[in-house]
Amino acid sequence: MKRHLTPLYGCALAAALLPTGCSTVAQYGTMAGQAAGVITADQAQSINRSAVAMEKTFQDITPEQEYYIGRSVAATVLATYRPYDQAALNQYLTVLGQTLAQYSDKPETFGGYHFLVIETEEVNAFAAPGGLILVSRGLLRCCRSEDALAAVLAHEIGHVQNQHGLRAIKKGRLNAALTTLAVEAGKNLAGESLAEVTKAFEGSITDISSTLMNSGYARTLEHDADAAAVQILSRAGYNPKALVDMLGQMKTRIGVETGRGFGKTHPSPDVRIEHVRTLIGAQLAAAVPAARQRRFNDAIGMIR
């Protein structure tokens, strides 16, 4: 009589048969193919390369890679928009922004959230991947309270926590870069591979920067960021209606604005207000402590 394997032996066998380094069907297939002598190692690599390419999305970008992408995106935006070097204002923005981040769904990122005012009258803000957030003087002028400024920053934190920037990277570009990394893994990148990855990196930075500065995100992503803002504001104890107030001010200001800015890259304030109102519902706002408005006036007063 033929001896049957007990489940325990079967388990050990199954575990032993599972190749540890393979995650895709293609990899299993090419391993089997090579073992059977049907395909060469070169052919296997080529098949694996295209299989890996098909599977790469923005979610395959590691937190460290996201951090470096974000640094270069911010550096690129800062080539067009200069920083507003006012230490007290930037410090206020930093404390407010980092406080809000604690109430978000993603309080910690690889390098943390950082905030800076940029010197332009345009109504504009940029959230680079990983948490580097730039806000224009023009947008600060749309805020009449700390709650309204919190709404602006919480919206940008929403873009970061949902990784909207990374989604702007053109798909083919990511495939090329991450595939090179996967195939070249285990070696130090040099020569052609390094050049290939740098080119894909450069392309990714261009994709994100031009989305932030010129074309803007899809309307649904802006609504997602507004929804995240309402959630963060409510959790923190800010009045989410301040987002509506800020959008109302923005509407007045971008009415006279031409060229760049939120007028070009964002859905109209009216569309956003309508959406935000449905999210807030009939929430009652708590009274704003005098100290909150006072510190806002002290910090923002210098740009008025």
């Binding site: 380094g21 937190p63 640094r71 893994a185 390094l194 990196f201 104890g237």
Partner: protein, 156 residues
């Protein structure tokens, strides 16, 4: 039937192994004495470090570090994905292909340096200044209290 049992067994085995371990996905993984940003930092773990999961409370995960310390990390600092770390530009030995794909190779400081060399106009000096601007958990707590905000610390 036997195959089914074996597969079930293998999956169960994989589940047990992966359920207990997570990896640090931030540059400086802070392990705190209590589940709050206000909790004292008892140790700091590097990116990619594996930790053993021993509990959870709200947005916080209780971990045991490789040197046996137990503390709390904000769950957003941890991932179930495998992240391999680099050692002097080399990926650490023993990592599988899938781990390597997720390693910090590629879009890293080396590529940033290349990008920087090719783009004189981009302003990394400003970014470097920006990433140094921080508020401590106690400053954040004082800011929230003075402004009449809800309890900070990320406990919610």
């Amino acid at each position: 039937m036997r195959l089914k049992m074996s597969l079930l067994c293998a999956f169960a085995l994989a589940r047990i192994v992966s359920a207990e371990t997570m990896r640090v996905q931030v540059q400086s993984g802070q392990v705190r004495g209590t589940p709050s940003f206000l909790g004292q930092v008892i140790t700091t773990l590097p990116y990619g470090q594996a930790v053993e999961i021993t509990g959870a409370q709200g947005a916080w995960t209780q971990v045991r570090t490789p040197d046996g310390k137990t503390g709390w990390m904000n769950s957003s600092a941890l991932t179930t994905k495998k992240i391999s770390t680099r050692t002097g530009g080399n990926v650490s030995a023993g990592a599988s292909g899938n781990e390597l794909a997720l390693a910090g190779k590629g879009f890293n400081a080396d590529v940033e340096a290349q990008f920087k060399a090719q783009h004189a106009e981009v302003d990394f000096a400003c970014v470097d200044r920006m990433v140094k601007m921080n508020a401590s958990p106690s400053e954040i707590d004082a800011f929230a209290k003075a402004g009449g905000l809800k309890q900070t610390g990320g406990e919610q």
